[in-house]
Symmetry: C2
């Protein structure tokens, strides 16, 4: 195997696929990046058996072949080379020689034919979506994905497509984030995608300079994201996701309209005091045209006031401030509504400008 | 005690003094910031008994007094307040009430009269220096200060003033950095200032927007840095510093002139391969008009070539690449010289443009 390519392009391709290379794999071959010549293209793969990333790049190929090169060393080395032509020559015993201007490296690699095959995914069950919209859906929901491995299904987000409606839903047992979008597809499908996959997709979308839409394809166990020549394969989480529509409350007794930024900064400050405590809860007193936000700990106490427009009953209710902050940071709307029933039922936070986002958060007990 | 001031000014002052507040003090009062009214000024102090920082700021004072306020909570709280007037009112039992627009906080403080006194330092033994120059002296030497507590004197840098010459010297047993400057003073003094103090001074210089010079005052056990109304007190390290001029070699057999950036990038890449090894050494083959830089590990090997102008003998010598990188990063000169005797004697690195900087580094054994 022998090829030459530009340092900058090689570095970009390596950076993309290396996101799927785990630092702590028990299979030595998976700590490397797979290189393979395909006609006049170079194919690169990173794979940790849960997530695989494949990309193609142009190269001047003089000898076909494949090899696996240690990812960490290669990534840093190529990054530090000058932006010039890089020549890579792989010997029969998988020793990789890299030449660039006055630099020369030999790296001990592994045979390409021992690298695991990528899964095959049927292209039939697929739809396309604007990549920025998809990125935004991840940004507005992924923080509510559970980190608790004891309920594996909640460590992913539900991707639900039906009748041209596409919902992304994340639940961690204390709050739920739902983001809705319209897509042009007749596909009907439900799948739970691991949180890590979505976070990596989000990073990739921000890095790849592609004009086309993102294509998402499903089979029973896998999902494939395609962006130009870049492919991200991920296993799906097995099991039934929570029937989330059943959780959504109605018959609200109090609806408060509040400025999102003001509400966020006040809760942010209350959190400083509350976090000194074991019970991190803050208290919201919703009454007339004000929310009073208070917190206390052995260090002291805080009191904030925010103007609101209230319809319905007064209410005193406690929340974990972190759960409010997470949502308020990602809602793209000047004003939001808080929809409440009583101090033990879930609260709904929505942007006022549009109905494509719903955040549910459970209240918590406050000491009187 | 009662005063009002601007949020931004208060936040700036708190940030400065909090650098001397340790998070892990065993004396609760030292985890706070000392506030005291002084006429129409507010005095703030942070102190961890090794390092103390004092600053003054304008405030609208309506009741004189002093108090100690928990540093971490206060710093974050004031930072997150709107840029408006902040009113602070301290009760007899040291409860601090902070009001700003619609926010109100109560923080449990400690009595100001229990806060330790700042050391008195005689102003006689002092000199002034341009603060950017002093900052640069720290930048070019502090990385060579030892982190090893077993030889306490080397965890600081020597500040040596005589006949208008000011030298800063740091040694860690493997390398030595010497930076020289001219100052207008008749003072003759030697003192060893802890590395942490110098690093904090450097941060402060970059943050404080003052026009005047930095004043440095010594007594036997303390040093005081004064920048406008800001004062940084630090204990000095006790003991005799190494007689560093004795270590400086002469009678060089090989002197190589090399481009600093090129040399740095080559060593940087060699380091990537070498660090996979227990023996991190890289090999320099200095011959004719080239330095060949090579490294190897079980992952592979590297070879770099850099053009030089050599006077004297060819030489093969090994170095810890990290020690070369540290120095090459801070030398402000397009070209440098390497001055060598043989492969077991110290090597001197100097900028070619000026003679105010000398870096000494010990070679290390290389496997043949």
């Amino acid at each position: 195997m022998k090829f030459a390519c530009q340092q900058q392009e090689l570095s970009t391709a390596i950076n993309l696929v290396s996101k799927a290379v785990s630092g702590k794999t028990t299979l030595p071959i998976l700590s490397g990046i797979y290189f393979e010549t395909k006609g006049d293209q170079l194919r690169l793969i990173g794979n940790d058996l849960n997530l695989s990333i494949e990309t193609f790049m142009d190269a001047n190929i003089s000898e076909q072949g494949s090899v696996v090169i240690p990812a960490r060393l290669l990534t840093e080395l190529i990054k530090k080379l000058p932006n010039s032509s890089v020549e890579i020559d792989v010997s029969e015993n998988n020793v990789i020689t890299i030449n660039c201007v006055d630099s020369s490296f030999k790296i001990v690699g592994l045979p390409g034919n021992e690298y695991p095959e990528l899964p095959a995914i049927d292209d039939q069950n697929s739809f396309e979506i604007d990549k920025e919209l998809f990125s935004n859906m991840i940004r507005q929901t992924s923080f509510a994905i559970s980190q608790d491995e004891s309920r594996p299904i909640l460590t992913g987000a539900l991707l639900e497509i039906e009748n041209g409606k596409f919902n992304m839903v994340a639940i961690d047992g204390f709050r739920m984030a739902i983001k809705r979008a319209n897509v042009k597809t007749a596909l009907s499908n439900k799948a739970v995608v691991p949180g890590r996959t979505l976070n990596e997709i989000n990073k990739i979308i921000s890095q790849v300079d592609s004009k086309g839409d993102l294509k998402i394809s499903f089979d029973d166990k896998q999902v494939l994201f395609t962006l130009d020549t870049l492919k991200v394969y991920s296993r799906l989480l097995a099991g039934e996701f929570i029937n989330y529509t059943q959780i959504l409350p109605s018959d609200f007794k109090s609806v408060a309209k509040v400025n999102s930024d003001q509400f966020l900064t006040c809760i942010d400050r209350s959190f400083l005091m509350a976090r000194e405590n074991k019970n991190v809860a803050i208290k919201l007193e919703i009454k007339d045209d004000l929310i009073k936000i208070s917190s206390s700990s052995e260090m002291g106490s805080s009191m904030e006031k925010v103007s609101i427009e209230l319809e319905g009953n007064d209410l005193e209710i406690g929340f974990n401030p972190k759960y409010l902050i997470d949502a308020l940071k990602v809602i793209d709307s000047e004003d939001i509504t808080l929809e409440l029933i009583n101090n033990v039922s879930p609260c709904i936070i929505k942007p006022i400008d549009h109905d494509n986002y719903t955040y549910l958060v459970l209240p918590c007990r406050i000491s009187k």
